[in-house]
């Protein structure tokens, strides 16, 4: 396969950046998308040019590191997978691909396709956990949890923090990310004591980081590689409103 790539190149955080066109030739349909970029990069290196910087690590769809807009869709055209799980047989010979970094004020570009997602970490730090010290935990079976609740919690917990929801959202909102973490705990008895405090602190931090507001486009749900439901956002909205109206901490 031969492809034309339009790739965002940006030397550093302060560089304005631009799209650069490359051709990727003799690409095997069995390659993963990132392997295709590896091949292009090695050719660039051989020419003495700097390779296209992109984030990646586990290459099996779980670490949440890889992050690219491929033809205007986060993680590429297929649903429920990450960029590293896209394979080249998904494209046709002669295709032109547009490859861009996540775009959001809260995710500044560091270089090329690499963005800084520390805002997500700070949201978690603000309250995305159950405050328990190492040690004094009761027996794991001390509190029975219905399978339904455990499954709902697990559905939300599947979030890999990749940021595709922000990238896809026309408003660059982080609500799906925040909601996923908040409802993982909101569905569990262990999460109840801090439930409303958690919702409040995480949302307030999210606002502080400069993400946009959720206006219910649901692009996030469509882009999420773990197919996390926007019903989690409903729950977060409810908990946040309740936290404010009743003042429960």
């Amino acid at each position: 396969m031969n492809l034309t790539l339009n790739v965002w190149r940006q030397k550093g955080p302060d560089d304005p950046g631009r799209m650069v066109t490359y051709s990727a030739n003799n690409i095997s349909p069995d390659m993963s998308f990132l392997e295709m970029l590896d091949v292009v990069n090695e050719q660039l290196e051989e020419k003495g040019e700097e390779p296209i910087a992109f984030d990646h690590d586990c290459r099996e769809g779980i670490c949440g590191m890889c992050s690219m807009m491929i033809n205007g869709v986060p993680h590429g055209p297929d649903r429920g997978i990450t960029t590293c799980q896209v394979h080249m047989r998904r494209f046709n010979d002669g295709d032109t691909l547009w490859i861009e970094p996540w775009r959001a004020t809260a995710f500044p570009v560091i270089k090329d396709l690499v963005v800084q997602r520390g805002a997500f970490d700070r949201i978690i730090q603000a309250g995305g956990y159950i405050s328990v010290k190492t040690g004094g935990a009761p027996d794991g079976n001390a509190i029975p949890i219905t399978k339904t609740q455990a499954d709902k919690s697990m559905d939300a917990a599947a979030c890999i923090g990749c940021g595709a929801c922000v990238a896809a959202c026309p408003n660059a909102s982080a609500m799906l990310f925040v909601a996923a973490k908040a409802s993982q705990f909101a569905h569990l008895p262990q999460g109840q004591p801090e439930r409303y405090r958690r919702a409040k602190r995480m949302v307030d931090q999210m606002d502080e980081e400069g993400f946009g507001n959720c206006t219910n486009h649901y692009e996030c749900e469509a882009a999420c590689p773990k197919e996390i439901s926007v019903e989690n956002i409903t729950l977060l909205n409810r908990d946040y409103i309740r936290a404010n109206l009743t003042g429960v901490e």
């Binding site: 550093g12 095997s28 349909p29 069995d30 390659m31 993963s32 990132l34 392997e35 295709m36 590896d38 090695e42 660039l44 290196e45 051989e46 003495g48 700097e50 910087a53 984030d55 690590d57 586990c58 290459r59 099996e60 779980i62 670490c63 949440g64 590191m65 997978i81 047989r89 560091i110 270089k111 690499v114 800084q116 997602r117 520390g118 970490d121 978690i124 730090q125 603000a126 995305g128 956990y129 159950i130 328990v132 190492t134 040690g135 935990a137 009761p138 794991g140 079976n141 029975p144 949890i145 219905t146 399978k147 455990a150 919690s153 697990m154 917990a157 599947a158 923090g161 569990l188 262990q190």
Partner: protein, 641 residues
């Protein structure tokens, strides 16, 4: 090099309890005066940072990823063992201890393994309290399954994402301490060297991967939680960034490296499809419950699998191991796959003139129980396989091949998880301590969290209270010296100006190692590998081509630093594999096998931990032996015939 294991005296089951009492404590008000550097934020690193922060220590945690949540622990799928005995099937602390010792082929320390088994139950409680959504029964209680051939159901799991959920639990605890100001987190920061002052580990030198800035950090103790070194093979199931550099730089500063040749190679991975392959994907071993492994009888048979009649197929595992068949242990399955491919009977894509894959065929299982039953059991795995390979495994046999997966070797540590360098602690996969020559399924997560939550937080205090010497700051000349050496090395890499890319060196190294220091090893092969690795390293330092510069983000430079260390570490692995002329666990020396071709352990001569001491560039490392004594278990031989 002094290797004092510091195993407490007394009966096995009382050692940890006794030791916890014997250890000196640090006054609560004084804890904040001690700074601890933790390198790595996986299960071990994150849990240790969080727990130390909670205790009141001043913690600095470093990771090279953009967030501590992305460490490779996240990719573990299967589960985590614990001796809860919830299913009432006879599990106990001693049984898990025994299984782990036996699984490790009697090459690990009894006392460490027993402690691991003792604290395993606490881990589950801790994680449940953190909100880890473990699978539940309808009654609301925790679900268990049997895993990796264990005869009891002691494995807890959260769908196929147990590693992810446990890591996110630890990451939550870490985040809480970051918010409380007890842990300072440094992301996209890579440790490039260890700083020793008066023989004690007192800090690290790091590179900021965004700006390229080199800086020093001083502390009262350094904890390495930097994972394993499977990526020495270039292709492995490890994440792309996993590397040996932190551990290896510590080794070069005097820490002993133990059992580097122990590498677990997982038999059911998706094979290489071309020279561009960057990484291998693991598929659950459970597939071997229903799949039959075969290759064509004839060499170079390139017919499609459906065209090969039954009489021309070799179900080699069933043929050689009639009792266990396709369910032989990981190392046996891996080794046999290599042999049939070496014979030229491999299948699948031709890469570098070889076909390295075997079939895992579900045809008979589908005929027996129906496609629906198979879909219910393995639907998601089949889906994943199809996504990656483009083949439909309901119709065409899967192709599998072994891939390096986990390294049991690591920096030598004593019972306190401290290396022979005072103050340098090593936890998780980065140390050598608990798995011997082979790791049991669902034990890696257990060990990482045991070290981080329940062992290190106690033992590090003992170091502070007993051996620690005064304060140092980064103004100490030792820091300047190490910084200069780090800068010098980076500059040297940038200045080579050759014309071969770093990936090309890494691929070449992987090829040598996989071929000669992989599933099956010979003295001759290892000697050749030593020569080849040395030659490759020489070429690396003469002919490496690196784009970009020292400042700002330079992905190629990051890789080059890691590959430079792998090129030295590979040699260490080969030395170790060559020296250990017995077969044990995952280490199979063709010279040491029974008449039936099974691994033959040599307890008389090799019942020890091989610990290697660095002797300087180009010098052969020196071997130190820590004898292994077994007082509570009887040494037995595995048999799968």
């Amino acid at each position: 090099m002094q290797l004092e294991s510091n195993i407490p005296s007394g009966p096995l089951e009382d050692k940890w309890e006794k030791h916890r009492f014997d250890m000196k404590l640090v006054n609560p008000a004084n804890k904040r005066k001690y700074t601890v550097i933790v390198v790595g934020s996986g299960l071990a690193g994150a849990s240790a940072s969080a727990s130390l922060g909670e205790l009141g220590y001043d913690v600095r945690c470093f990771c090279f990823q953009d967030s501590p949540r992305r460490a490779h622990s996240i990719a573990a799928q299967g589960g985590i063992n614990a001796t809860k005995n919830y299913p009432n099937d006879g599990d106990s602390v001693f049984r898990l201890f025994y299984d782990t010792i036996k699984g490790g082929d009697f090459r690990s320390r009894e006392a460490n393994v027993y402690r691991l088994s003792q604290v395993s139950a606490n881990i589950i409680d801790q994680c449940v309290a953190q909100g880890v959504p473990f699978a539940r029964e309808y009654g609301g209680h925790l679900a268990n399954r049997s895993f990796g051939g264990a005869q009891v159901s002691r494995t807890f799991y959260a769908r196929g994402q147990t590693g992810q959920q446990l890591l996110l639990g630890a990451y939550g605890a870490l985040s809480r301490q970051i918010h409380a100001g007890k842990v300072k987190m440094y992301t996209r920061t890579e440790m490039l060297d260890l700083v020793l002052v008066d023989g004690h580990a007192r800090g690290i030198v790091v590179r900021d991967l965004v700006t390229g800035k080199i800086s020093s950090h001083a502390a009262d103790a350094v904890v390495l939680a930097t994972g394993g070194y499977c990526n020495v093979f270039y292709l492995s199931t490890n994440a792309m960034g996993c590397n040996v550099s932190a551990a290896f730089r510590a080794y070069k500063r005097g820490a002993g490296f133990a059992n580097p040749c122990y590498v677990q190679i997982h038999p059911t991975c998706i094979p290489v499809s071309g020279g561009y392959q960057s990484k291998l994907t693991l598929m659950s071993e459970s597939l071997r419950n229903d799949g039959r492994v075969w290759v064509p009888l004839k060499k170079g048979d390139t017919r499609r699998p459906s065209e090969i009649p039954e009489s021309e197929r070799d179900y080699y595992l069933e043929r050689r191991y009639p009792a266990f068949g396709n369910l032989v242990p990981r190392d046996v399955a891996s080794r046999n796959a290599k042999y049939v491919c070496d014979e030229g009977r491999g299948v699948g894509h031709e890469v570098n003139g070889e076909r390295r894959a075997v079939y895992l065929d579900f045809r008979d299982a589908i005929n027996r129980v129906g496609e629906k039953a198979i879909r219910d059991r393995y639907g998601n795995l089949f889906h994943m396989y199809q996504k990656i390979t483009g083949d439909n495994p309901y119709q065409v046999p899967m192709r599998i091949y072994p891939a390096p997966h986990y390294t049991m070797g690591g920096l030598w540590v004593d019972y306190n998880l401290m290396s022979n360098v005072p103050g340098l602690h090593v936890i998780g996969e980065a140390n050598f301590s608990d798995h011997g020559a082979n790791r049991l399924g669902a034990s890696a997560l257990m060990q990482g969290l045991a070290d981080g939550y329940f062992v290190l937080p106690y033992t590090i205090g003992n170091y502070f209270a007993t051996k620690h010497k005064g304060k140092v700051t980064t103004d100490h000349p030792a820091f300047k010296e190490v910084e200069e050496s780090v800068n010098g090395k980076l500059k040297k890499l940038m200045d080579i100006g050759g014309d071969r890319t770093v990936d090309s060196f890494h691929r070449a190294l992987g090829q040598i190692m996989l071929d000669k220091c992989g599933v099956s090893r010979t003295a001759e092969g290892l000697k050749t590998a030593l020569e080849e690795v040395a030659a490759l390293r020489e070429e690396f330092w003469e002919n490496l081509k690196l784009p970009g510069g020292l400042s700002g983000m330079n992905v190629s430079l990051e890789k080059a630093g890691r590959v430079a260390d792998f090129l030295e570490h590979a040699e260490l692995m080969c030395h170790d594999a060559l020296d250990r002329s017995e077969s044990c666990g995952c280490h199979f020396r063709e010279e040491s096998q029974t008449e039936e071709g099974e691994a033959k352990r040599d307890d008389e001569n090799f019942s020890f931990v091989s610990t290697w001491e660095y002797q300087g560039a180009g010098e052969e490392p020196v071997l130190h032996k820590e004898p292994l004594e077994f007082e509570n278990v009887k040494l037995t031989t595995r048999s799968y015939k």
